[in-house]
């Protein structure tokens, strides 16, 4: 594994794993406490439509995915503020429409299926320098926004109605949250693939929730856990010659199962 670090692609993979964990831990925490993991899933799958369009029109797939992710996030939030349409129905529709349109675009464009597989299941060993820049910039933006608006994010997540009565611009905060979620989803697609994005956003945060009593502690622990899962998954995948995204998810799921058992025993003793 240490020898592997001599390769540029492995250095990229390690850096992307670490940068990805920061976004993953912070946004994953917000997604988890707001019970919005299906929203993250639907954004991820909707962005597949953007990938398809990018292959068809010949522009950067990252731009296509980001665009579709952002549009779907805004679309869902617009629908959910109108109570008449059920949010989960809108999310399910977005989820399926993204996949369907992506599939059609890709079929027409005649793209080689290996490219497709890398988006669906991640391509950690093929992370480019521009992907790393994307991750670094996103991390900086997330850290600035969350530290600056921490009390607002905490308040809106805990009790939206009360926050609104206190004069907090709840729609604005929700909007920022959804956009950051969309951008994080696209970044994580590079690591674990769009199918497994939900797991990466929710598992580290769910484990962190069991052991922490405040939102910022949960964010830090979730980021550390995500980094550990990413790096151990990457190493193991390298040694066993397996796809890293999948190994990362298996390790995360294993850790989640283990902490559920630990939690069960702890609460049984207490």
């Amino acid at each position: 594994m240490i020898d592997a670090l001599g390769y540029t692609f492995m250095q990229h993979a390690v850096i992307a794993s670490l940068l990805g964990s920061i976004a993953c831990g912070i946004i994953g925490t917000l997604v988890t406490v707001n019970r919005m993991s299906s929203l993250a899933g639907s954004i991820a799958h909707a962005s597949f439509g953007g990938l398809g369009l990018a292959y068809l029109m010949g522009f950067d797939p990252m731009i296509g995915a980001t665009g579709f992710a952002a549009i779907s996030a805004i679309g869902i939030s617009a629908v959910s503020s109108e109570k008449r349409i059920r949010t989960d129905t809108a999310m399910a529709a977005m989820w399926a429409t993204g996949m369907a349109s992506g599939l059609i675009f890709i079929k027409i464009s005649g793209t080689y299926s290996a490219d497709l597989m890398s988006w669906l299941f991640g391509s950690l060993l093929a992370v480019s320098a521009s992907d790393i820049t994307y991750a670094a910039v996103l991390d900086i933006v997330i850290l600035l926004v969350i530290t600056g608006l921490y009390k607002e994010f905490l308040a809106v997540s805990f009790d939206q109605e009360f926050s609104m009565l206190q004069g907090v611009p709840t729609k604005f905060i929700r909007g920022i949250f959804l956009i950051l979620t969309a951008l994080t989803v696209v970044l994580l697609m590079k690591i674990t693939g769009l199918i497994m994005v939900i797991a990466m956003l929710s598992i580290p945060a769910a484990i962190a929730e069991m052991y922490t009593g405040s939102l910022w502690k949960m964010m830090i622990l979730a980021s550390i856990l995500a980094a550990v899962f990413n790096l151990t998954g990457l190493s193991l995948a390298w040694m066993l010659n397996l796809p890293p995204g999948a190994v990362i998810i298996i390790i995360a799921a294993f850790a989640y199962g283990l902490s559920l058992i630990v939690e069960r025993i702890r609460s049984g003793v207490a």
Binding site: V33, K83, G148, L149, K151, E152, L154, A155, S157, F158, D159, E161, F162, S163, M164, L165, Q166, G167, V168, P169, E209, T212, G213, S214, L215, K217, M218
Partner: protein, 254 residues
């Protein structure tokens, strides 16, 4: 100004042609302690939303402290219903600090004064020692006190409570109402509840809501009426729904 909350001919709801509350008139004078009683689905929460300016009525006018509710709702301390078994990683102190959000700008940090005010209100509600605890580790009754402390942290003129008795067990109900009575010396209190038996003698006026609203004035609650029935409560029936209005007289009840 004597009128704190004034509703005139208010009709509101969520779906057209199906108003949840219909043609409601309500006047709450300063320093009142009003209990609004009604069955589930009777429009209690809708009434609160209208007063808070979260729901714009289809017809009629709403005034809080003589101004539209959207403007004067910063003077209302809102205490929502306690949701049991809710998991959210937040400390008691951070919950109470939410009541100070309107005093700090966006991006700005909570100041020393904000923390002092939060602590003072936790003290007032007798839950100061829980400040560092996680909200989920508290009992429903303690959570309720924290939510009241949060509402009071903004120094409101009106306290609005949604189903406050639901999370207080019968043994502590008396002390809970004593606490509200104490707060009532400086703050106008309005609470809504479906639990008819839970309305205490500390309450100064009672209104019943079930789509329409009927205020029971002083006379009806007077000692003489209670005595006429030979017991400290009476049955009132209007709109086909009979209910009790309690008049606990400390002299007659052992």
């Amino acid at each position: 100004m004597n009128e704190v909350i004034g509703l005139k001919g208010v009709t509101a709801g969520y779906r057209r042609d199906n108003p949840v509350i219909h043609d409601i008139d309500l006047t709450v004078p300063k320093d009142d302690f009003l209990a609004v009683i009604g069955p589930n689905g009777g429009g209690k929460t809708t009434l609160l939303k209208v007063i808070l300016g979260l729901l714009v009525p289809w017809e009629g006018s709403v005034a809080v402290l003589g101004r539209p509710p959207e403007i004067s709702r910063s003077e209302i301390g809102y205490v929502p219903q306690v949701i049991p078994d809710e998991s959210f990683p937040i400390t008691v102190m951070d919950v109470v600090l939410m009541g100070r959000l309107k005093n700090t700008g966006l991006i700005g940090r909570f100041t020393c004064k904000d923390r002092k005010t939060a602590e003072m209100n936790l003290e007032r509600l007798d839950v100061r020692d829980l400040a560092g605890d996680e909200i989920n580790s508290l009992s429903s009754g303690q959570k309720q006190r924290v939510l009241i402390a949060r509402a009071l942290a903004g120094n409101p003129q009106i306290l609005l409570l949604d189903e406050p008795v639901a999370s207080v067990d019968h043994n502590t109900q008396e002390s809970f109402f004593n606490l509200l009575a104490e707060l009532n010396s400086t703050i106008t209190i309005v609470l809504v509840t479906h639990d008819v038996g839970a309305v205490s003698s500390h309450v100064k006026s009672i209104a019943c809501i079930n789509r329409n609203l009927i205020s029971h004035d002083e006379e009806l609650l007077s000692e003489s009426v209670a005595k006429a029935y030979g017991c400290p409560f009476e049955l009132i029936s209007h709109g086909g729904i009979p209910h009790r209005v309690l008049e606990k007289d400390k002299k007659t009840v052992p």
